[in-house]
Structures are given as structure tokens and as C-alpha cells.
């Protein structure tokens, strides 16, 4: 970690040992798609999702190790976000089952998934712009009796819990360097600060597993280091992290395990140091055209247009 990274507060286990322990746990796992993990928190089986004629996700088997930072990478349109949406209940699969901590979560609505301890963030941040930062945070809290229609009318019944929640929120905001912004509208924050707020808000629910959809996208470089620090701190406190990311440098820097998707399937798995040499991964990235400059009109051939259309469709679906 570089010097400007803010030190995460009170890890329960020394950071280095936690990372080392996860590395030891994963040492014997075969570097193959769908490899079983020694202590899987999330196990998915046979998950498919099609849009019209296009198969967006077709995952035979995948497991996520408890307490580890797992990165989900792949070219655009590989189905990463769709898989996220399925696992967190924001989309319905065509087929498939999955379990979280041994509890089946297939086709369970999103709210229940979150209550089970699996909380996500979004690729396009969903900070509630016309609410203040602190209100955003309080919304994340659980067990607030005042969220009941009738109890809400009698403030003494919920004031004490509200005070606890506010304390918890302020502590998290301080850690995420957002405390001085707590009375500002969330809409006035910068893109990177919104990402931080969204992550902090997710932590208000005290999740066992956080799913971050492109946490680095649109964040200015000065903030990425601190974001990375926060993600590692989560792992060091025992929270499982699954995140989608494009930036391979970041992936290599913080993840314990990498799962590679292409065209809806999982094509490779392994530790970050070796997985990028895998032939399937190289093919997946070189075969895709996600970096093609679409400003060039000559590239708008039927193929590209169709691809764009399919992607647009997926995006629309995901909204």
C-alpha cells in the first residue's frame, strides 16, 4: 500500500496475515472454471439468462470463497453485470439455482437477498441524489422500528435506535472521509465520492458479502487508492467481496482470486498472478472489440450495430 492510502481502521486480524491465510486456503484450488473452493460462501449452478435470442449468461458452476476478495473480469458484454443482477435478485434467470451460506437464494426478491447478508452496489451509482448524505446512510441501517407505518407516528419508539444508527453512520462516513459532507445533498458529490457513499451505505446493513459492480469506474485516480484500501479493509474484517472490474492493474493489486467470463460463460479461474496468461483469457480479450473506436463511422457495419443493439438491450434491461 502506498503512503497516501488512508489506513483502514481496526482490522480484527492483522491485514497481512488475513491475506496470507486466504492465499493458503486457495493454494490447492485447481485453476479451472467452476473449481470447488474449500469454504464456499456462494455456490451457483447452471445459471442461464437469455434476452430475446441472445444468451447473456450461461454459467455451469461457480463458487466464491468465504472471506476472500474475488474479482470477476471479462470483456464488455461478457455477462458480468447480468450475473450480478441474477445473483442479487434484480433479474430473473431462465434456469439456475444458487445458495448463499447454504441457503437457497434462487428467485428470491432483491430485498430478501440483501437481508440475507449479500449486498450490492451498482455500476452507475445509485446515490439518492435528493437526500442528504447522512439520510442516505441511515436508510441503509437495519432494525429501525420507525420504518413501520404506525410506529413511525410515535417518535419515542424509534428515537434511540435512530441515535445508534446515526453514530454508526458517522463512524463509517469518517472512515470514508465523507463526514464533513454529511448534510449535503448526495447529488452534489463527485462521482468518486458517490461510489464511496454507495459502498459506505451498503456497509450500514452489516453484510457478510458485498458485491461491487465496477467500483473504480469513473473514479478519479486520487480516490482509487483509498477505494482499494477500503476494499482490502473489508476483507481484513472478514467480509467476503466479489467485484466486477475492467482495470487489470487494480485486479492484480487487490484480489485473491479471479474469475474470467466471456460471452456469458466462465472461461477461466485462478489467482491474479497467473490467470492472465491463460489462453482462454487471451482469446476472450483479443476476440472482443470493446476498445474499438465507435466514433469512426466506417466501423458501423451491421455486425457492430447488432452488437451495440444487443448491449443497449441488456443495459436497458438492467436499469
Amino acid at each position: 500500500m502506498s503512503a497516501e492510502t488512508p489506513a483502514p481502521t481496526v482490522p480484527t486480524v492483522p491485514a497481512a496475515s488475513r491475506k496470507a491465510q486466504v492465499a493458503r486456503d486457495l493454494a490447492d484450488v485447481p485453476h479451472a472454471p467452476g473449481a470447488p473452493k474449500p469454504d464456499a460462501i456462494l455456490v451457483a449452478e447452471d445459471v442461464t439468462r437469455t434476452f430475446g435470442g441472445m444468451t447473456a449468461v450461461d454459467v455451469d458452476h461457480v463458487e466464491v470463497q468465504r472471506g476472500a476478495i474475488t474479482a470477476l473480469i471479462g470483456p464488455n458484454g461478457a455477462g458480468k453485470t447480468t450475473l450480478f443482477n441474477l445473483l442479487t435478485g434484480f433479474d430473473r434467470p431462465n434456469t439456475g439455482t444458487w445458495s448463499f451460506e447454504g441457503r437457497s437464494l434462487g428467485r428470491v426478491p432483491a430485498g430478501k437477498v440483501a437481508r440475507a447478508g449479500m449486498v450490492r452496489t451498482f455500476q452507475l451509482t445509485k446515490a439518492l441524489s435528493r437526500m442528504t448524505v447522512i439520510e442516505n446512510m441511515r436508510l441503509g441501517a437495519t432494525h429501525q422500528p420507525g420504518e413501520n407505518l404506525l410506529t413511525a407516528l410515535v417518535p419515542p419508539l424509534w428515537r434511540s435506535r435512530e441515535a445508534e444508527i446515526t453514530a454508526q453512520a458517522e463512524e463509517l462516513l469518517a472512515r470514508f472521509k465523507l463526514l464533513e459532507k454529511k448534510d449535503d445533498f448526495a447529488g452534489s458529490l463527485s462521482g468518486g465520492q458517490r461510489k464511496l457513499l454507495e459502498m459506505a451505505r451498503a456497509l450500514m446493513t452489516k453484510p457478510t458479502m458485498v458485491m461491487l459492480d465496477e467500483p473504480m469506474a469513473g473514479v478519479n485516480p486520487a480516490l482509487t487508492q483509498s477505494l482499494l484500501g477500503h476494499i482490502q479493509a473489508l476483507r481484513d474484517e472478514g467480509t467476503t467481496v466479489l467485484f466486477v472490474e475492467h482495470d487489470m492493474h487494480m485486479v492484480r493489486h487487490i484480489s485473491d482470486w479471479v474469475v474470467v467470463m466471456a460471452e456469458g460463460r466462465i472461461v477461466a479461474e485462478g489467482p491474479p498472478e497467473t490467470v492472465m496468461q491463460n489462453q482462454a483469457v487471451v482469446d476472450a480479450y483479443l476476440g472482443a472489440h470493446h476498445d474499438t473506436d465507435l466514433g469512426d463511422d466506417s466501423l458501423l457495419t451491421d455486425d457492430v450495430a447488432e452488437q451495440l443493439e444487443a448491449e443497449a438491450l441488456v443495459e436497458k434491461e438492467q436499469r
Binding site: G52, L294, D297, E309
Partner: protein, 467 residues
């Protein structure tokens, strides 16, 4: 919700222009209509006729010519039974919503002391009721020649066959003949409804706007046809073409004057929708301001009945259905066979992608508005003929049927609007076989809600569109 990419402009200028545009548009509409104000029909005091309501009524006076108060009457017929009582001025009226033969029975026990019917054989009596007009039933009181004057029936209310809503008599059981008759009526109504709905659907598809003022485009067409025939004295065809042309022009002007500017201001779709609600109120009451609350008959002649096998139709509805079919086929050809039509479907599918591939989205939207308003005007003319009369709120009254049709077919798909309209037309007419006919619009709306439960994307819509 999709938003169409637009160019930015100084907000102040845009704001002023917008306010001006709204005013200009309203003034133009008023100017067109002012001239027809001369032909205003006054609203009936009690029962008000409209496209789906007819009034039966009259005035009862004692032999001395004083109003007879508190006389009870019963009107019985295909739409059920309605009771009426004369008021302080001796007038009575009853509203019915199904055309046909009605029996009016006067309760002689309720007549004022010492009064009796001049012609006891005339009680009960039968009147022919046509939607959108009034029918008089006269019950003169007293002995010989003296006094009793009844209300003069509406000139158009003389007995005549061939109203579209079948006048095949009292509500008997469900016979094959009635099913057939109602089915054909429903088909005709569905086709006319489709003309009105296609524009609604295309506008939603290309701009994401649910246009609650689309019903007023329909009314506009019918009122213009009325104006052309009854005020300018033109033949129906000329007046109809005029109505469609002016209707289309109003669509063009509306998009140029209001909606284009609102899209430029990046007003959200919900806000735009509420603006259409305000516009619909403005237009409806402006229509009523100029033409009054009564029914307006576009043509005074009664339709010529045509008997095809067991079916009783009239020339008007046959021609209307044919015109509607041709117009819908033309729209189909436009969407499938022409470059602009394909571009329209592309914009409907994905505006951003369409814009990226070089389609001028704003141009397409303008064309859609013009086309949609023109079709709505044509639909209005034909529906005005189908209902035998139009009124200030004709479009408003069928707006929800149009929305039901469009939603059923799948929001934003033009062919869905056609399918949905025909389904709604059939439901409306066939449902009268099992439910009271004044609930038939409600039946169609119940179907709408049920379909949303089972298949929210509509009959032809794609599942992907639901968020």
C-alpha cells in the same frame, strides 16, 4: 424511459418561445373553432347527451298548462330500466347508453289530482333512441283539445332504423345472431379505434410520451368535419379531407410548438405527461366553450340500412370500415416498406442507436406527430359518424379505450395498437351480451387490468421492455 438527444439552447429564450408557442397554438385552435360557435347547441338541463349517452325526456303540463310536478315515469329497453320524475318545471329526462327501442311508462297514480292522460292508449309508448341525441316522449294531459303541450322532440330523433349500435330489440338471450351482429359492430368499432390509437402508440414509441391529449385530436377531427358540413356546407368527403389535413397540421404544430421545445428543455417524460393532461383540459373545455355541451350531428341524414344475411349494417359503417382498413394498410406499408417508416421503427426501438446511425430523430418524431394527429382526425370523423353525433368530449370519452388498446397490444408498437384496438372493440360490443350495456366500457378496462396482471408487456410487446 428514453430521452431524445437534443441541442441545447439558452434556457431563457427557450422559455419565452415556449410560452409564446403554447399561446399561439391555443389561439389558432380557438380561431378555427370560433366560427362554428354560431351553431352552438345548448346543453339539456338534466340529462346531457354525449357520444355514448342518449336522453329520453319531455315536459308534462296539466290541462291548464301548469307544470305537472312529481310525475313518475319508467323507461325500459335494451340498456335496462331508468326511472324519472318531473321537476318543478314539469320536465323529465332519463339518460340511456344503449340505442334501441325503449318503452316509456307513465305511472298514472302519480299524476296531480284531477289530471288524466288525454290519450290513455298512448301509455306506455315506444320511442326510438339513438346515442348522442335526445328522444321525446309526449304525454299530454287533460280531456279535449285544451292546453297540454309536450316537449318538442329533437329534430334528429325521429324514428329511423340503422343506428350502429344494433337496434335489434330488447335484450333477449345470447343468440348466434346477436353474437354475430355484436361481433361485426365490435370489429368496425375496433378498426375506427385503431385509427385513433396508432398515433398514440407511435408517439409513445418514439418519444416515451403517454399523450393524454390524444383524445382531443380525435375530437378535433370530428368537430372540423361538423364545421365543414354544417357551417361551410361542404360535402362530407371534402369536409373529412379538410378535417384530416387540419388535424395533421395541428399535430405538426403541436410538436413544433410544444413538445419539441420541451424535449429541448430536457423535461422528463413524467412532467411531459402531466403537461399533456393540462393540454387535454385546456382543449376539452375550449371545445365546449365554442360548441357547447350538446351533441353535434356531422350529417343530418339518417344512415342507409343494409342487410347482409342475418346482419343489419348501414352503408356508413361499411364505408368507414373500408376507409379505416385502407388507412391502416397505408400506415403498415409506410412502416414496413418505406425508408422513413423503417427509420421510425428504428427510433421506436432505440432512439440513441438510431441517432448514432445517422437518423434524424427529431425529424422522425415530427413526422410521427403529423401522421398520428392526421390519423386521429380521420378516426374522429369516422367515429363521429359511427356514434351518429360528436361532442366536445368524444375523444376524452374514448381516450381510455385507446390507452387500453395500446397497452394491450404492447406499448409503442404500431401493429400492437391495431390488434389491441380490435380486441377492445370486440370486448366492448360483445360484453353487452352479458353485462349491462352502460358498463361496456368498464368491461374493456377490466380486461386491460387483467391483461396487465398476466402479460404486462401486452399481446405483441417484447418481455425485455419491462423494467
Amino acid at each position: 424511459m428514453r430521452r431524445v438527444a437534443t441541442t441545447g439552447r439558452s434556457p431563457h429564450r427557450a422559455r419565452r418561445n415556449l410560452a409564446l408557442a403554447v399561446l399561439t397554438l391555443l389561439l389558432t385552435t380557438s380561431a378555427v373553432l370560433t366560427s362554428s360557435g354560431a351553431a352552438t347547441a345548448a346543453a339539456a338541463a338534466q340529462c346531457v347527451t354525449d357520444a355514448s349517452t342518449a336522453c329520453v325526456g319531455g315536459t308534462i303540463r296539466t290541462a291548464a298548462g301548469e307544470p305537472a310536478v312529481g310525475v313518475k315515469l319508467t323507461v325500459d329497453g335494451p340498456g335496462g330500466s331508468v326511472e324519472a320524475e318531473t321537476g318543478a318545471d314539469g320536465r323529465w329526462s332519463a339518460a340511456v347508453t344503449t340505442a334501441g327501442d325503449y318503452t316509456v311508462t307513465l305511472d298514472e297514480d302519480t299524476l296531480p289530482e284531477g289530471e288524466q292522460l288525454r290519450d290513455p292508449a298512448g301509455n306506455p309508448r315506444t320511442v326510438v333512441v339513438r346515442l348522442g341525441s335526445s328522444a321525446g316522449a309526449l304525454f299530454p294531459l287533460g280531456g279535449g283539445a285544451a292546453g297540454g303541450s309536450g316537449a318538442t322532440p329533437d329534430p334528429g330523433a325521429s324514428a329511423a332504423p340503422g343506428t350502429n349500435a344494433p337496434s335489434t330489440g330488447a335484450s333477449g338471450g345470447v343468440t348466434a345472431q346477436r353474437v354475430l351482429q355484436q361481433g361485426v359492430s365490435g370489429l368496425v368499432f375496433g378498426l375506427l379505434l385503431a385509427l385513433a390509437s396508432v398515433g398514440l402508440s407511435l408517439i409513445y414509441g418514439t418519444t416515451g410520451l403517454s399523450n393524454f391529449a390524444h383524445g382531443e385530436q380525435v375530437t378535433l377531427g370530428a368537430l372540423l368535419a361538423y364545421f365543414g358540413v354544417q357551417v361551410l356546407g361542404q360535402p362530407l368527403i371534402v369536409a373529412g379531407l379538410l378535417a384530416v389535413a387540419v388535424g395533421a397540421a395541428s399535430g405538426w404544430a403541436q410538436d413544433a410548438g410544444i413538445w419539441h421545445k420541451l424535449r429541448q428543455r430536457r423535461l422528463g417524460p413524467t412532467q411531459q405527461m402531466i403537461v399533456t393532461i393540462g393540454l387535454s383540459m385546456v382543449l376539452q373545455y375550449a371545445f365546449q366553450y365554442f360548441v357547447g355541451g350538446g351533441p353535434l350531428r356531422i350529417v343530418r341524414e339518417n344512415p342507409v340500412p343494409v342487410r347482409i344475411g342475418p346482419l343489419l349494417l348501414n352503408q356508413q359503417s361499411i364505408f368507414s370500415a373500408l376507409i379505416a382498413l385502407v388507412a391502416i394498410a397505408a400506415v403498415g406499408y409506410f412502416l414496413l416498406g418505406t425508408r422513413t417508416g423503417r427509420a421510425t421503427r428504428a427510433v421506436s426501438d432505440n432512439p440513441a442507436l438510431a441517432a448514432a446511425s445517422g437518423i434524424s430523430v427529431e425529424r422522425i418524431v415530427r413526422i410521427v406527430w403529423t401522421l398520428g394527429a392526421g390519423l386521429a382526425a380521420l378516426g374522429g370523423v369516422l367515429l363521429g359518424l359511427y356514434f351518429n353525433a360528436t361532442a366536445w368530449n368524444m375523444g376524452g370519452a374514448i381516450l381510455l379505450l385507446m390507452f387500453a388498446a395500446v397497452t394491450l397490444g404492447g406499448l409503442g408498437t404500431a401493429f400492437g395498437a391495431l390488434v389491441g384496438s380490435i380486441v377492445i372493440g370486440l370486448v366492448v360490443e360483445l360484453s353487452t351480451l352479458v353485462i349491462p350495456s352502460d358498463m361496456r366500457y368498464a368491461g374493456a378496462l377490466v380486461i386491460l387490468i387483467l391483461v396487465l396482471l398476466v402479460r404486462p408487456q401486452g399481446i405483441l410487446g417484447r418481455a425485455e421492455r419491462i423494467g
